[in-house]
Symmetry: C2
Subunit: 308 residues, 2 copies
């Protein structure tokens, strides 16, 4: 392991331990799965409201979804091509009393009781915007559509970095329109996002980024994504100063979802889509990291922004 990587891991573990000691996060025994204290949750809720308010002037349609989605929609989305390692498939017991006795025997003997469970027709939501694209199917109204969503999301990546949780909340604004409107909408959010992080007193910068695509083929996809600036991120220190973490992600999908779900503009052209996602726990963690564990001592301007 390289020296820098070691330093980063040590810093991340130290910060996580501090969060646990201050009672802001609660250990569950599973890496990347934490309970939240009342105060931490309150901070997340305030950030959620702050983020929603920044997009409210655009009058988005507000929707909320539980953190599971239709399995067939998930298959169509292409997620399994790019990020199979992060997905969470849900499985349930179906069977009679004999099967049930076998299940309980497996539990008792410490064997895996879940190997034969059939899938339950749903998977955990990988990003808050996934339930939205199928709803755009068909011809969009003139001017396109804009949706505000927020939900818990799942990513199977157990980690000691508090900034990399297995379940976390993402607030997103999702746009579907003609290519030009979609691009300029994302451009507007770059400026907004920078102002938003400045208002929160965070030491942040924007950069061109790529997704953690699976495998060797994934490396090419990542290079292409960077070259075409399809993914931009606002990053800020959370677990370590050396390796800042994305708190806002601005993604331009071109016609990827429009092709899959049959989304057309009012003129009948293939639509384009884009989304801006805010990592709510990450933003809260960045505030504790950079302004201290005692919320009453945060800069007055930041406290005012969050209504504290």
């Amino acid at each position: 392991m390289a020296r820098t990587e070691e330093t980063v891991l040590t810093a991340q573990r130290e910060f996580r331990d501090q969060l646990l000691r201050h009672g802001l996060l609660i250990s569950t025994g599973v890496p990347g799965l934490y309970g939240r204290s009342g105060e931490f949750e309150d901070t997340v809720q305030r950030i959620d409201g702050f983020v929603a308010a920044h997009g409210a002037g655009d009058h988005p349609e507000v929707m909320r979804f539980p953190p599971i989605i239709d399995r067939s929609l998930f298959e169509r989305s292409g997620y399994l091509k790019s990020f199979p390692q992060l997905a969470g498939s849900v499985h349930s017991f179906e069977g009679d009393e004999r099967k049930h006795r076998e299940l309980l025997q497996a539990v008792e003997q410490g064997r895996d009781w879940s190997t034969e469970l059939p899938h339950a027709g749903v998977v955990l939501t990988p990003a808050a915007c996934y339930p939205v694209y199928p709803l755009f199917a068909g011809a969009l109204p003139a001017g396109g559509r804009l949706v505000d969503v927020m939900s818990y999301c799942f990513r199977h990546e157990p980690s000691d970095d508090s900034g990399r949780m297995q379940m976390f909340r993402m607030h997103e604004h999702v746009r579907a329109a003609d290519p030009e409107s979609t691009v300029s909408w994302r451009e507007a959010w770059i400026g907004r996002s920078e102002r938003l992080t400045i208002a929160l007193g965070l030491d942040a910068r924007s950069e061109v980024a790529s997704d953690p695509f699976f495998g060797r083929g994934g490396k090419l996809l990542a290079v292409n994504q960077r070259e075409e600036r399809l993914k931009l991120e606002i990053v800020t220190p959370i677990g370590s100063d050396e390796q800042p973490t994305a708190i806002i992600s601005l993604n331009y999908h071109r016609d990827h979802f429009a092709h899959i779900f049959g989304i057309r503009t009012a003129d009948g052209e293939v639509a384009h889509t884009a989304c801006v996602g805010f990592g709510l726990e990450r933003m809260a963690l960045a505030l504790y990291r950079q302004h201290g564990f005692d919320r009453t001592t945060w800069p007055p301007s930041v406290r005012e922004m969050l209504g504290l």
Copy 2:
């Protein structure tokens, strides 16, 4: 199918269709899995605050957990003995590029791509209180402990009844103490729950209830649970008038969780536990059912209670 059962199913489907037509719920194609409109979500949030306020005078510790829990804790809880059919086990892909190609081939050919996925060490949360009991392990402080939790919960029971969702939110107050204090705490919540439903103008009544235990052995457990009045419910019409639905559940576990997780009173005795759970979506649905789909026409006293 008996005549009454048919009438109930027809009424439930009719009410669900009305909710979809009014745009309060959004279809996802999966039975029992819905998006929520901005207004419906707002109603749920107001009920959540209303429920929390009713218990705030007891100064509970506030905790919030994501909707997955540690698989080993889930095994120990005994849930698989009683309700295997409702559980949701989470599975993730692990493998190399060859395995990934096989996975994608299965998707392409419409075969099940998830049969060989290993479990991910977590399961979906079956009730909001499950992450709390292990935290009580050891000796309780004098007077015991009281926790306020709220989370999305999963139950694998696809249904056309909007009052029976696969994912829904439950707000709970969880008590661990000596047997006498635990029993009297639950007693106090029976009165509170009745006052709370009256304040919301709901046509509700309390009754002795039982859980949907699995199999023939489960029938005996249910009889025992009723005889000992371990589960009380406040029920009110949601999908049909003939068959009211539980919106509040008051459960006394005796020493079940205390034995499993080693919870003792300050005096070293085995503790008892109890919980009171509020079904937030169900309460919202009951309000729309009984006061109408237009929230502005709800009774003034109800609107005032919810800050509308």
